[in-house]
Symmetry: C2
Subunit: 324 residues, 2 copies
């Protein structure tokens, strides 16, 4: 049995072997650039780990794992334009290094590359994986659209927010696990359990991301701590707080949201204080833990040796108790 | 045997049946909007017509035909952002009606939809079509990147320009024909002839487009006549003229290109006069005719009844002798 670390090393190696054409430079270099920024390689690791539950040799799943990572980076290329994000993993985003047109077009090339990688799967599993991949990819776009819609909405409810992050983040994590299962011959029931596990893991992961933007140290997280507060980003924390019954604190929060002219560290401190009084951070973590518990229960119910479940269990806890 | 018109009617019907989800509205409505703008439906028509060379029942090729049309519209959604185009087929472009983010994301959803349509092909042909589609899609991105690169280059040569339009325009037309052949069981040799025919047809088509932007009437063409001249767009005409030996006229042309402050109709008239003296328009049409002659010869060499070749022949001449 391989450990989580082994899969990550393998993925890094395989990503390096992708060998994008050298010309036109502005089309392919940005894909290499964003892939080289690193990241957790969460999605491909999940695919290989899910495959390892059912089969020792997970090599058949490798093209699918890579396709998911390249697809994920396609979404980052385009999302960073739409969100006007200037920094990704501590480095300038592609549309800042080059320009928006380059980020649009290299993103387009990246999604096609992802499909090309999928095309390396053997016939017996390709069609099924292709179908899951397409459905998921469309849902990810839907999630991003809902996320942008929320920016213009006065009040978003917690269920609306959870549905948005289910689409924007969780379905890809769920698909990564399910596709791993498909590649390794898991039966339909286990495929569905893997998918549900991924949905719960994805929701917990995003809530943790929202939490860490406020409470992680800058150095570890690779982006400015409190950036979501400064930008009034509708995270789980903000939505949770705005839906509170404590009218006084909600008004105070709205005051900070509507303030055009402010000192960023001061706003961060003030909003953090409101979150503390409303126990927003604690609520967020409790909600995340409840999704993690679901994920662990679902893992238990998969028809595979408990010994083989350890890398996935390890990954689940690592994601939950990370500091960045 | 069906006529060209029958195929176009069928494609319009099938496009109407695509039934995009209603929510999120900003994701799917723009795809419907751009598809509803109409257009020649050239690529899907070519797929069905190519299929009809080898098989009377072309219904198996329909999902591929639709995928190519949806893919083509995906490229339009993104190209219009990159080219800052405000008008498409006489109507405001998606990024003008909505905004750039909407055009980016609905474009992304459109390419995924195109793949979903491809997924409806029967197993026996799907893998082969998928491979041609991926290769082509990447080349189209490469062509768009070269086109953007050219904007920043002082002098582009005629061969460089032809290679750019081969990638940006011709390979998709070539793939449309080849995929039609694959769907109808054409042998490898005929598949390659169809591809080459498409390359020549695509080159002729683009040269004709460049020509018509200068010489077609506004009403018929659906966009402002002479727009390419006003914007110094590096078309075949401009590149051909700039590479002329007539230094005096080239200098005059450069004068108009570098002029920041000008009256558009005056610039159009002046540049048209230079083109006339250099016989640029005639050269462009001669070059286009030579590509069309190649296409017709290639059509002759395909192993199919000459009667069955008539709709494709008709389409070739229709494209060549169109007025818009």
């Amino acid at each position: 049995m391989s450990e989580l670390k082994d899969y990550t090393v393998l993925i890094e190696e395989k990503l390096k072997e992708l060998n994008f054409p050298s010309e036109p430079q502005k089309l392919y270099e940005p894909i290499q650039y964003i892939l080289d920024l690193g990241g957790k390689r969460l999605r491909p690791a999940l695919t290989l780990i899910a495959a390892s539950l059912f089969r020792d040799d997970t090599s058949e799943a490798v093209p699918a794992a890579l396709a998911l990572e390249v697809f994920h980076n396609f979404t980052l290329l385009h999302d960073d334009i739409m969100d006007k994000a200037e920094i990704r993993r501590g480095k300038p985003t592609v549309h800042k290094v080059w320009n928006e047109n380059v980020a649009i077009l290299s993103g387009d090339a990246a999604i096609i590359k992802a499909y090309e990688l999928l095309g390396q799967l053997p016939d017996s599993i390709f069609r099924k994986v292709f179908q899951v991949f397409n459905e998921t990819a469309l849902e990810v776009c839907e999630g991003q659209q809902y996320d942008m819609n929320f920016e213009e909405e006065e009040l978003v409810t917690v269920p609306e927010y959870l549905e948005m992050i289910r689409l924007k983040t969780s379905v890809l994590i769920a698909a990564a696990l399910k596709i791993g299962g498909i590649c390794a011959g898991a039966d339909a029931a286990d495929q569905e359990i893997l998918y549900e596990l991924g949905i719960n893991l994805g929701l917990a992961f995003q809530l943790q991301d929202d939490y860490l933007d406020v409470y992680a140290s800058t150095e570890k997280f690779g982006k400015t701590s409190g950036g979501d507060i400064v930008n009034n980003k509708k995270t789980y924390l903000l939505i949770n707080a705005l839906n509170s019954d404590n009218k006084m604190l909600v008004e105070e929060l709205k005051h900070w949201i509507n303030l055009k002219d402010f000192n960023p560290p001061e706003k961060i401190e003030a909003v953090k204080k409101i979150y503390e009084e409303l126990e927003t951070g604690t609520d967020t973590q409790l909600q995340a833990v409840s999704f993690i518990n679901n994920a662990v229960e679902l893992l238990d119910s998969i028809d595979a040796d408990s010994e083989k479940k350890k890398p996935l269990e390890e990954l689940i806890f690592k994601l939950m108790y990370r500091e960045k």
